[in-house]
């Protein structure tokens, strides 16, 4: 038995879906990094620490699912805001459809097994 193998599915699953949860957080409006990190990085959430949202954002940006703009902030230095692109919105929509089917299939399998 591989140590930690029992929680392996969890980290695999998280890795697969967390990007889409970042996209979902941007659905209603643009946000800046700190804001996203705070809302997604709460303990018990999907992130392994608030800071891990930044590599995710960098990856989403490279894929052109999000784009960034600098905006002045009232007090401090300018902030980098993230906004969902058309492509990103489509990816999120496709994920949502797939996720619902996936969830139903897993629930059914678990119930039938019981």
């Amino acid at each position: 038995m591989i140590p930690g193998a029992d929680s392996n599915w969890e980290s695999q699953l998280r890795r697969g879906v967390v990007e889409y949860c970042v996209l979902a957080a941007l659905r209603s409006r643009e946000r800046y990094g700190f804001e996203l990190a705070r809302s997604l990085g709460a303990p018990g959430g999907l992130l392994m620490g608030e800071g891990t949202v930044y590599p995710l954002l960098a990856r989403l940006r490279q894929r052109r699912w999000v784009e960034t703009t600098w905006r002045e902030s009232g007090d401090g230095p300018p902030r980098r805001y993230y906004r969902l692109t058309e492509q990103g919105a489509q990816a999120l929509e496709a994920f949502e459809r797939g996720w619902i089917q996936f969830r139903i299939a897993v629930d059914r399998a678990l119930e039938e097994g019981g």
């Binding site: 990094g33 800071g51 891990t52 930044y54 590599p55």
Partner: protein, 194 residues
């Protein structure tokens, strides 16, 4: 609480992040680094974090820098086999027609694993490693001239000039041999930490 001490703590955290991200393309690395830095600034402004415990808690919430690096795909756990050669090549590579040492220095400077001060240390203490030390020692011993004199059949007196004076010479000898070994051990520890 001393503000500078808190700044140093942040500096250490960001330094660790830099090393973790070292293998990423520069633009991606810069973006992540800037964002984490801005995050720390904002979080410190928001909750104060005026003491060490507060700042520690703040950094814990942001997460282990290596976890951030892993998420970035920088795979900080991955080490290349040739980096493992550096702590051997620097002290001993000089004996391989000195080419070994040069190869060791080239890998040392090309690798993101070591910081600038490690690179300087590895290069300057000492050029050509222990081979350089042995050349230096044999050169200084060659300067030693011993003359023996005394009456035939009587006790002989030997007097040596040049070379290294006794206690100082031993201390220098010790440093010359031990320093490159300590530097090699240090480089190995830094490599393993990454």
């Amino acid at each position: 609480m001393d503000q500078r001490r808190l700044d140093r703590m942040v500096g250490r955290y960001l330094g660790e992040l830099d090393r973790g991200l070292a293998r990423l393309p520069p633009a991606r690395r810069r973006q992540i680094r800037e964002e984490v830095e801005a995050h720390i600034r904002e979080a410190r402004g928001e909750q104060g974090a005026r003491d060490e415990a507060g700042l520690r808690q703040l950094l814990d919430r942001i997460g282990d820098p290596m976890e951030i690096a892993r998420e970035a795909g920088a795979d900080p756990g991955r080490r290349t086999w040739y980096e493992a050669l550096v702590p051997l090549l620097l002290p001993l590579g000089g004996f391989l027609l000195s080419v070994g040492w040069i190869v060791g220095v080239a890998i040392l400077w090309a690798s993101p694993v070591w910081r600038l001060r490690d690179k300087l240390l590895g290069t300057l203490i000492f050029p050509f490693g222990l081979a350089g030390v042995s050349i230096f020692l044999s050169a200084s011993l060659a300067n030693t001239v011993c003359t023996s004199y005394g009456a035939a059949g009587g006790p002989m007196t030997t007097h040596c000039t040049g070379g290294l004076p006794e206690p100082l010479g031993l201390a220098i000898l010790f440093i010359l041999i031990v320093a490159p070994i300590l530097v090699a051990i240090h480089l190995e520890r830094v490599r393993r930490r990454t």
